[in-house]
Amino acid sequence: MKTPIYLDYSATTPVDPRVAKKMCDCLTLDGSFGNPASRSHQYGWEADKLVEQARKQVAELVNADPKEIVFTSGATESDNLAIKGVAHFYKKKGKHIITCKTEHKAVLDTCRHLEREGFEVTYLDPEANGLIDLEKLKAAMRDDTILVSIMHVNNEIGVIQDIKAIGEITRERKVLFHVDAAQSAGKLPIDLQDLKVDLMSFSAHKVYGPKGIGALFVRRKPRVRLEAQMHGGGHERGMRSGTLATHQIVGMGEAFHLAREEMAADNERIRMLRDRLLDGLKDIEEIYINGDLEQRIPHNLNVSFNFVEGESLMMALKDLAVSSGSACTSASLEPSYVLRALGRSDELAHSSIRFTIGRFTTEEEIDFAIEQIHQNIGKLRELSPLWEMYKDGVDLESIEWTAH
């Protein structure tokens, strides 16, 4: 076992050795280093061929047409391109955008930016389990709504939104629908022939590909138009200029190809490991699972350990690499906005730990994690005045705290 044990797969994943190998073949003089846009010689043609193969691999994972795949520097850029691109192109049609409070910052900050430009954004509240109520979405839609952006799987709590149903609603009202699928592609089956989704963001580094490359699906039938955000040469059908990074794209293609082949088997094993972890923690008093347990990817477990603060737990779990919704661990000293949006109290948001499992996690690592957690929760609760008060039957709500 390599320590610290990596249980933070939702933050990033190691590149699969098979992917790395393919990427290395595109770098040096003896590899396919050419500029894919060089139309006039073999170096360019070869690189272009590899890019188009990779484009096909990405498209195949989600049953899209390769022509609908635009390569970007990552899901953050894809989100920016989708949301700003649509807003600016269709601004004469309307100025209203709908999204959700639990979206990734790449979506939320982009929407905030558009608000400064004069767009109006509605940020929907999810239910306590993290899922969107479709009636509330319908109620929020206006005549001047041009875009709805809802992520497929949430990065913090792993819950799965019903994008099939949402697509039916938006298409009926002729509103464009963007989905951030950074955390779902390669983990859940996605069929863009079936889903009425107009734009979808992908990330390579969440599915054992390299960091710094992603893609945006832009539907052709019915056609979605975008204002490009990167100019300079007209690459990617004018939607995203910039020399294509062959090695990055090949890496993403191979990662998506492997995901397609191995998704079912990986998921079964990962679900077993996640459930093993959950079983191992069930006997701990006062723990809360954040987010719906059923409508959730098998890779994610987000737990609040009441009366123990998240960062101290992470410090104590020094042989595990995890993340927390605790304020102390975010630079802004505010607790997780996702957990707050679920209606979780600040205390429970401060006490949360996110465990995410992946392709290289072993049973041994899970058992080790369970043991470490048990030992340290006990110790930290011994240190905690809140645990003592709880055990003494004191109602913590009744205390007047001297907050500074």
Binding site: G310, P335, E347, P385, A403
Partner: protein, 127 residues
Amino acid sequence: MAYSDKVIDHYENPRNVGTMDKDEANVGTGMVGAPACGDVMRLQIKVSDDGVIEDAKFKTYGCGSAIASSSLLTEWVKGKSLDEAAAIKNSEIAEELELPPVKIHCSVLAEDAIKAAIENYKEKQGK
């Protein structure tokens, strides 16, 4: 975000963790912070008749730096007079533990805690 060895040491080898009887005449209790902020420190001191802190205990809900700050404080106040203890500055705690800027507020809270404990003791004597 690596912790200083000293911060880790206070967690791995806790000292003075515990609870005194807050109703005892010569015990002062200070509880500062709030669960909503992610920081609650409870500091208790047992004061001798000649105004010297004989014993100190703490319990803290908070990050590693908060735990270490309050733990260190209990070590420092033992054997000091009330005035000496009240004079301890948060900057001294922060320096000793090598706290990064984003964690300085933990040392401030510890300073608040000892002052609150001393005030509580004095109030009880004043009755």
